[in-house]
Symmetry: C2
């Protein structure tokens, strides 16, 4: 048996992923209550909302109000997502946002065009500007997301060489600066990864950036999410993003619908059972997951929220 990490960091994405995914807009007080419950669970980083065009994503129009209403708790970061400078400026102007400076690196031209209106190369140049913007704001660049790092619904399989090129760009960009390399987050944005590819790509990234911390953003679109999580643990990956109750996924959606992130309490359960610490109180997190399900008002994909942990059977 290979050594697994003794501790992993799990970043919660549920409030942002989930409420953005739903067509309904849920009462602010309910969303605040969910974030507050998550803040009490031992999670140290929670992505609360995104600062995006409110015409395109009306569910996130009151992101500022949400940040101001949630209860701050020492040691818990409440972060936000933005996709352009305008979004970053809004986040910057909002009290209560823990600004986590991230880069978005694309491997698929088509995916980048559809999401950003420009190709992957242009988007990379744009990231140069973002780095400047972050430096000016006094923020360290904390994470670099490699989007569709395994495959893309528009372009098909993403060659490993594309991922390697992105990582080389990143390493070159930070080499010789005083800034440390950000955490490299490989994102399986549309659920193409399987464990052997996790191993191959994490290994290839580590070859190029041996000192970088590597994390994974996984979706459970085709059922391989938890197997990918385990494969990543075996490769020493110790940063993961998850979504409480599997928020953002929808078992009722028609064929072709993208599923949500891997479920936070399911990965916490599995980690703890394997002796890996997360700092999270699983029982409180399960309660938060049940709260999320009651709020959404339909069955969410998480398993442990339904079956419970094993604690009750062991006493």
């Amino acid at each position: 048996m290979q050594d697994l990490p003794s501790h992993i960091d799990i970043h919660e994405e549920g409030p942002r992923e989930g409420f953005q995914f739903e067509s309904r807009i849920f009462p602010l007080a309910d969303r605040v209550a969910l974030v507050d419950a998550l803040s009490e669970s031992g999670l140290r980083q929670i992505q609360v909302a995104s600062f995006v065009n409110p015409k395109a994503v009306p569910q996130m129009a009151d992101a500022g109000d949400l940040f101001q209403a949630i209860r701050k708790r020492p040691g818990v970061r409440h972060t936000a997502l933005w996709l352009n400078e305008r979004g970053f400026r809004r986040a910057q102007a909002t009290p209560g946002v823990d600004l986590k400076a991230s880069l978005l690196l694309h491997t698929s031209d088509t995916f980048s065009h559809r999401n950003n209106g420009c190709g992957a190369g242009e988007m990379r140049k744009e990231q140069e500007r973002w780095i400047g913007m972050y430096v000016e704001a006094g923020l360290p660049v904390e994470a670099a997301y490699v989007m569709t790092a395994f495959g893309c619904n528009f372009q098909g399989d993403i060659p490993l060489s594309e991922v390697q090129a992105v990582i080389r760009w990143l390493v070159d960009r930070f080499e010789g600066t005083k800034q440390p390399l950000p955490v490299i987050m490989l994102a399986d944005t549309v659920g193409w990864a399987v464990p052997t590819e996790i191993e191959r790509r994490v290994g290839a990234v580590r070859d190029i950036a041996p000192t970088a911390r590597i994390g994974l953003h996984l979706h459970d679109t085709r059922g391989a999410g938890m197997a990918n999580f385990y494969a990543a643990l075996r490769m020493g990956v110790d940063v993961f993003e998850g979504s409480v109750a599997g928020l953002g996924g929808c078992p009722f959606a028609g064929h072709g619908q993208a599923a949500g992130n891997i479920c936070t309490e399911d990965i916490v359960f599995m980690a703890h059972e394997m002796g890996i610490e997360t700092g999270i109180d699983l029982e409180r997190l399960i309660e938060a997951a049940r709260q999320a399900e009651r709020l959404i008002g339909r069955t969410l994909p998480g398993r442990v929220l339904r079956s419970g942990s094993l604690a009750g059977y062991r006493t």
Copy 2:
């Protein structure tokens, strides 16, 4: 990367697990149509029904009719489950049943009492009688199931030593006979396993029975099913049981409800993507899974049936 098996055998349990789980009794013609669709998918072994007390399980009362109505196909075995001699005799008297002689070995006294009305030790003696019954019927003993091999909701964690004792009994029982050791099927009956325990227990079983083929019967009760599948592959396990569409699980069930088997088409998808052959036509299996979901009339846990395979994106 460790060598994975180049080919695995997947046995379908959906019709038996699924229809037994549902409180409704579905029209015979619809159940026949689903089994027929599965028989066309490349699956080589399908457990169609169980011969159990029709008063306790009315859903299986017409098991005989079902076996007689399904279309036989060369190379496809249509097997049945029984829990006592009376069930075996009914199966034996039913045309169309491919009699697969199996043993049921218990690790948990309480679980055995609840299911069989006697403890694990007594149940083992009963298996002596089953072996005689099978020999008399001219049937090789093909599989030996180790029930609750990881944990039990009534007894808690099952010590590895209990599993080892069961395997030693089995090896002793077959040693010196002309009968080969049956495939040892470790069953995570109520969803306690995590990947590290899969590795530990498969390794321990192999130490005691180095020549035995080992298989796994996994449930996805707490979300670790697919990770357990991957851990088992890495240990060289090459026999798995699955349930099409995740039949037998119910995302609508209340807390505490046991989830179904791992989903057959999800494991086929993951296996194929990792270069492991199954002999199964994934697209036909996905169609059968959708047929199962239409028949049951509510969302089933499988993922690939909703998202589709990657074939369409690659062309």
